[in-house]
């Protein structure tokens, strides 16, 4: 049937509908497991308030992890890479034009000079 046609990549295949069926079965299983959990949860009561070892809860804005704090380890590990790459994005138009003309010169040499291979 055309509707459940599989995407052929030439080497393997991919059928999203079979994947979706498996996904839905997994969701139903997870739901059943969830149903067997504790049922005494009451939204908005004392039990839903955060417990921070008896300390007062900070302001909402202070506990949210902001975007700038994420992946610090990744960017720090690649510090050398970023120290070279970021300054190239100078925001200066003449720099942009130089890169453009530089790439053109390299490609011109490659094409007129007989190629890469």
């Amino acid at each position: 049937m055309a509707v459940i046609e599989t995407l052929n990549t030439g080497f393997g295949s991919w059928n999203p509908l079979i994947w979706l069926a498996a996904f839905i079965i997994a969701i139903i299983l997870a739901w059943f497991i969830w149903l067997r959990g504790e049922s005494d949860y009451r939204k908005g009561t004392e039990q839903t308030k955060p417990f921070i070892s008896g300390n007062a809860e900070p302001e909402k804005g202070e506990v949210h992890v902001r975007g700038g704090n994420m992946y610090w380890g990744f960017t720090n590990a690649l510090e050398d890479y970023y120290e070279r790459l970021v300054p190239l994005h100078s925001g200066i138009l003449t720099d942009y034009i130089l890169w453009f003309l530089g790439v053109m010169a390299i490609v011109m040499i490659l094409v007129l000079g007989g190629g890469l291979i």
């Binding site: 046609e5 990549t9 999203p16 979706l20 975007g67 970023y82 890169w99 007129l112 291979i117």
Partner: protein, 525 residues
């Protein structure tokens, strides 16, 4: 009678509808703002309908030729042309309609979104006129069969785009971004014009089929190839000529940014059209193929690694747009590199090309969607700064769902459309060079990591006091995002249908230079 006339003039109507719409928009706006909004939506919908009809016509009956000013437009060399295809000819093949339908869908979605999303802006009459003019430029670029005409539409696309980038005067930053885009686009346009001049000087022709048929691949042709290739690659945002992209994409209104993605893809179409249709058999496949592959790999990797530390959500998404363009260049570049080897082409080259082309339309949908969600956030929260945003998922549930769909699609997570095209690219490129395929997969993982950060920064966390009054965006904006989200899901769940209907015919049309030439010089397919 009317139906017959419409069907006979579809290529002209594809441009005439948005062009007429653009011209009349300021006049309608003088009468009524609501009337102007309805008019712009109607024009955009009509353009989409024409694109759909033309797509159906081309895919069912073959390449459509339309000669402007001729007694019989369907013939490339009508009797009153003196036996030469000197008139402006639109050569609309499967590749053209593939791009046209993609642009028209995104065009309609962004227009719908902008009705409410840009309602707080002044100067909306000219804004919508420029938006429709940019659509004219994009559609003209992908449909024309004439090199000079291609340059004209490239300029219309670029100038309308630059003006739109500068339309939100935000302490001068938007104007600066628009100026950068305009200067670089003009420089690129001049080089394209110079290349067109080289063709005209050598072959006395501007028609692509005539030039392709006469192509000698001498020194001047090689110079023209480099000028066209590099100028159009710059316009499509390929690294290391991508620097304008984050500046322009981040400062433009989000509806414009979503459409700029398609405008850049029209230049990518130009790269592919030049390489496959103008030069094709005369090319050194390995050299040009590897140049495109290297540009693709650089774009993928540098784009995504520059995206990760960004704090402005639209700037971050702009770097991802650069990164995703790399996948398209990689897929089609691999196809080009093995074009001369029939065995390799059958084994994986064609799949790589189809994957690259499939990624174009997928990217137009999910990246358009992501930029619109960023616009929805800016509309309500008034900032794009990820260090300031947070907790918006409590009130903006629909926007959050649309963002999740777009983010999973761009990261190549099943069952969304980005996964299908990336899978085709991974597997076919692996046969060509495993390391390139591995780089592509690593880039996808980094893309997912980056969008997890954006998702957390914008939607997760407790409700923040500064966003106390924030509510979901108006219905028009949700409808614009909803159309694209629906297509992201449908293209992901039924990928083979899309490949069979749109992608394979487009890839075949691109590779088959002989048919393109015969369609014009033989008087029509």
């Amino acid at each position: 009678m009317i139906t017959g006339w419409i069907m006979e003039n579809l290529p002209a109507l594809l441009l005439a509808v948005p062009m007429l719409g653009a011209i009349l928009t300021p006049l309608v706006g003088k009468v009524s703002e609501k009337g102007r909004n309805a008019w712009v939506l109607l024009v955009s919908l009509a353009a989409l309908c024409v694109a759909a009809l033309l797509t159906n016509e081309v895919l069912s009956s073959g390449t459509v030729i339309y000669t402007f000013g001729a007694g019989t437009p369907a013939s490339a060399i009508p009797a009153d042309s003196g036996g030469l295809p000197f008139r402006i000819i639109f050569t609309v093949d499967a590749m053209s309609v593939f791009m046209a339908i993609s642009a028209s869908i995104v065009g309609f979605a962004v227009t719908l979104f902008s009705i409410a999303g840009d309602s707080k802006m002044s100067g909306k009459d000219s804004f919508y006129a420029l938006l429709l003019l940019m659509q004219v430029g994009i559609l003209g670029m992908v449909c024309t069969g004439d090199m000079f005409n291609f340059f004209v539409f490239l300029e219309i696309n670029s100038l309308a785009g630059a003006a739109l980038v500068a339309s939100r005067v935000d302490k001068g930053y938007a104007v600066e971004a628009g100026l950068k885009y305009a200067v670089l686009s003009t420089l690129g346009g001049l080089l394209v014009l110079f290349a067109v001049g080289l063709f005209y000087g050598q072959y006395d022709a501007l028609n692509m089929a005539v030039i392709a048929d006469s192509m000698q691949f001498g020194v001047l042709d090689k110079i023209a190839l480099v000028l066209l290739l590099v100028a159009l690659a710059m316009k499509s945002g390929a690294v290391p000529m991508h620097f304008w992209t984050p500046d322009a994409y981040s400062m433009a209104p989000s509806s414009v940014t979503a459409f700029l993605v398609v405008a850049s893809q029209a230049s990518l179409y130009g790269v592919f059209r030049v390489v496959f249709t103008l030069y094709n058999v005369t090319l050194d496949y390995a050299t040009i193929g590897w140049i495109i592959i290297i540009l693709g790999v650089l774009s993928m990797f540098i784009g995504v690694t520059m995206a990760i530390p960004q704090k402005d959500v639209k700037r971050l998404m702009a770097y991802h747009a650069v990164s995703q363009t790399g996948y398209m260049l990689l897929g089609v570049g691999v196809g080009l590199a093995v074009l001369g080897n029939a065995a390799m082409m059958d084994a994986f080259g064609m799949t790589a090309m189809e994957g690259g082309l499939f990624h174009i339309i997928n990217h137009a949908m999910y990246k358009g969607l992501l930029f619109l969600t960023a616009g929805a956030i800016f509309y309500q929260a008034g900032t794009r700064n990820l260090n300031k945003l947070g907790g918006l998922g409590h009130e903006m549930k629909w926007t959050m769902v649309f963002f999740i769909i777009g983010a999973l699609a761009i990261a190549g997570i099943p069952p969304f459309n980005g996964f299908a095209s990336k899978l085709m690219i991974y597997e076919s490129v692996f046969m060509f060079s495993p390391i390139l395929s591995i780089i592509a997969m690593v880039v996808s993982i980094l893309t997912l990591a980056s969008f997890v950060k954006v998702f957390h920064s914008m939607f997760m966390g407790p409700k923040l006091p500064e966003y106390e009054g924030v509510r979901e965006v108006p219905r028009y904006m949700l409808a614009g995002m909803g159309i694209l989200a629906l297509l992201v899901i449908l293209f992901g769940v039924f990928p083979q249908q899309v490949v069979d209907f749109l992608i394979t015919p487009a890839a075949t049309a691109l590779v088959d230079q002989g048919s393109y030439i015969a369609a014009v010089l033989g008087g029509g397919a």
